[in-house]
């Protein structure tokens, strides 16, 4: 029995396994971004009518420096860079897969809101995704998105013309940086297929009121952070989302919003990654456009 107790204590004090690193699904195997020529898997397919001219595609790199841990992150800006000083810009925070190329059709789609290249769109790979350096971390993700905001600010963007759009995992930096602004205060928040917190993931999977801290050290909590957001809020979610459930995650975030204006788009038949497709691209683009114009 004495030996058992010793072994138990040793296990307790040597316990260090967490699931945090399993939460990110990046692909770092690419050597360059392919954009339209990328032949790997992409989340949605869009037609040639949404193609963006090469002259309007600007690959970028920024230095992002959380706690002195300087990393080079890769981004892409679609549109006329000169417009940043005068017009509305959409900052797109992608989901938890691979890299920018996986989300390239979505980014192109947003560059067609209100007409081709009506609004500039900036999207980045968080650290650890694609060609961006370093391991993926929660704080690093916030810093990387903020580094994009810093670049936009340097190009002349002001708070009132910044719209931030977060899809899935990207709902975390989008919500965090709207609720707790750093370099810029986004004027509008758009979330697609957002999640509420790791607690809800665990509860959905286990059916019990188990806390997320049993598995991860993540502090992402869109369900609470959204309460601080006063800016207009657009929420869109697939009713049939089997990965981030609409009823437990999305409705929680939407229900906790207490700001000035909100609109909800519950898309019948929509799964996690195909909401724009199921909704129809023209309808999707129109909904986004109308919200930005508000």
């Amino acid at each position: 029995m004495r030996n058992l107790i010793i072994i138990a204590f040793l296990l307790v004090f040597s316990s260090c396994l967490r699931l945090d690193s399993f939460l990110y699904n990046p692909d770092t195997s690419i050597e360059a971004y392919g954009y339209d020529s990328y032949e790997g898997e992409v989340e949605i397919e869009v037609g040639p009518e949404y193609t963006i001219a090469d002259s309007m595609i600007h690959p970028l790199t920024f230095q992002s420096d959380p706690s002195g841990d300087d990393k080079k992150i890769h981004a892409v800006y679609l549109g006329n860079i000169a417009d940043i000083a005068t017009d509305t810009i959409i900052l797109y925070c992608h989901g938890n897969r691979d890299h920018l190329d996986f989300y390239w059709p979505r980014i192109k789609l947003l560059a067609n809101v209100g007409g081709k290249n009506r609004y500039g769109v900036l999207a980045m790979d968080y650290r650890g995704f694609g060609l961006s350096e370093g391991p993926a971390t929660e704080e690093g993700m916030y810093e990387d998105v903020d580094a994009c905001m810093l670049w936009l600010k340097q190009m002349g963007l002001t708070d009132d013309r910044l719209v931030i759009y977060g899809f899935s995992l990207g709902s975390a930096p989008a919500t965090e940086l709207t609720a707790n602004p750093r370099t810029l205060q986004p004027s509008k928040l758009m979330l697609e297929s957002c999640f509420a917190s790791d607690d809800v993931f665990v509860e959905d999977a286990s059916g019990l009121s188990l806390p997320g801290s049993y598995f991860t050290s993540l502090q992402i909590n869109n369900g609470d952070e959204i309460k601080k957001v006063e800016e207009p809020f657009f929420w869109i979610h697939g009713v049939d989302d089997s990965f981030i459930r609409m009823d437990t995650h999305g409705e929680t975030v939407f229900g906790n919003y207490r700001g000035s204006y909100s609109e909800a788009h519950r898309i019948e038949g929509g799964e996690h990654g195909d909401v724009p497709t199921v909704m129809g691209y023209p309808e999707y683009l129109n909904a986004v456009y109308k919200f930005i114009l508000r």
């Binding site: 029995m1 967490r18 509420a196 286990s206 188990l210 997320g212 049939d240």
Partner: protein, 225 residues
């Protein structure tokens, strides 16, 4: 790679609710002591085949008297993840036939979980009833089956949502192969059959999209009397 990571995450999430085989099938004799180790968990389809999650636990049991066995378990996989999880239960001989080849064991117990990172504490009372049948006159081997449940004490979930799952039940069928000092257990559980698990990113062995089938293996050694 993404699928594999998601599979690991979600499978591990389920392990707390399905983490061990039946602790006490037939109560031990008074003073009898037994050490056990268990392996297994919820079933998932991986590479086209159903496999159990390799979740582990160790257990100590002692016959308090001839009708009551105290069992204390420690969940070693969760411990490795910084969660102290222990279960304590009493296996009570509720019925035994005159031939001593058939019986019913009632096992109330409690699971306690505490994470070393954010000090979150949870406790789940457990009720279980197991019927066993010694199917051979000359051998001690047992076929058994039972019904059990965890009881959810929390009425509220994250973000103030209402907890509608008050029970997390299971049905058990198993076999215990008993030698003089060693015994070997194989068990199937249908876990959380009222809880919808499909569609999900993980391909659970999930009849009708509800719950999951768990597979468990155990080995026990009698260490004294």
């Amino acid at each position: 790679m993404a699928t594999i990571r998601s599979f690991i995450l979600y499978s591990l999430i389920l392990f707390f609710a399905s983490c061990n085989a039946t602790r006490v099938i037939k109560p031990l004799e008074k003073g009898e002591k037994q050490l056990s180790a268990g392996l297994g968990g919820p079933g998932i389809i991986y590479a086209g085949a159903p496999i159990p999650m390799p979740l582990t636990s160790v257990n100590y049991a002692q016959g308090v008297d001839s009708n009551v066995t105290l069992s204390v378990g420690m969940h070693t996989t969760s411990l490795a993840f910084g969660v102290l999880q222990s279960d304590v239960s009493l296996g009570i001989r509720a019925y035994q036939s005159k031939s001593e080849r058939f019986g019913l064991t009632a096992t109330p117990g409690i699971h306690v979980l505490y994470d070393l990172y954010e000090n979150n504490f949870r406790t789940y009372p457990q009720l279980e009833a197991t019927t066993w049948w010694q199917y051979s006159e000359s051998k001690q081997h047992l076929l058994y089956g039972g019904l059990g449940t965890w009881i959810e004490l929390f009425k509220q979930k994250a973000h103030g949502q209402v907890q509608t799952n008050e029970l997390m039940p299971w049905i058990t069928v198993g076999h215990q192969f008993n030698l003089e000092r060693w015994s070997y257990l194989t068990e199937f559980k249908y876990l959380g059959f009222q809880h919808k698990t499909a569609p999900s990113v993980v391909d659970f062995v999930s009849p009708g999209g509800n719950g999951t089938i768990g597979f468990y293996f155990g080995v026990s050694r009698t260490i004294g009397k």
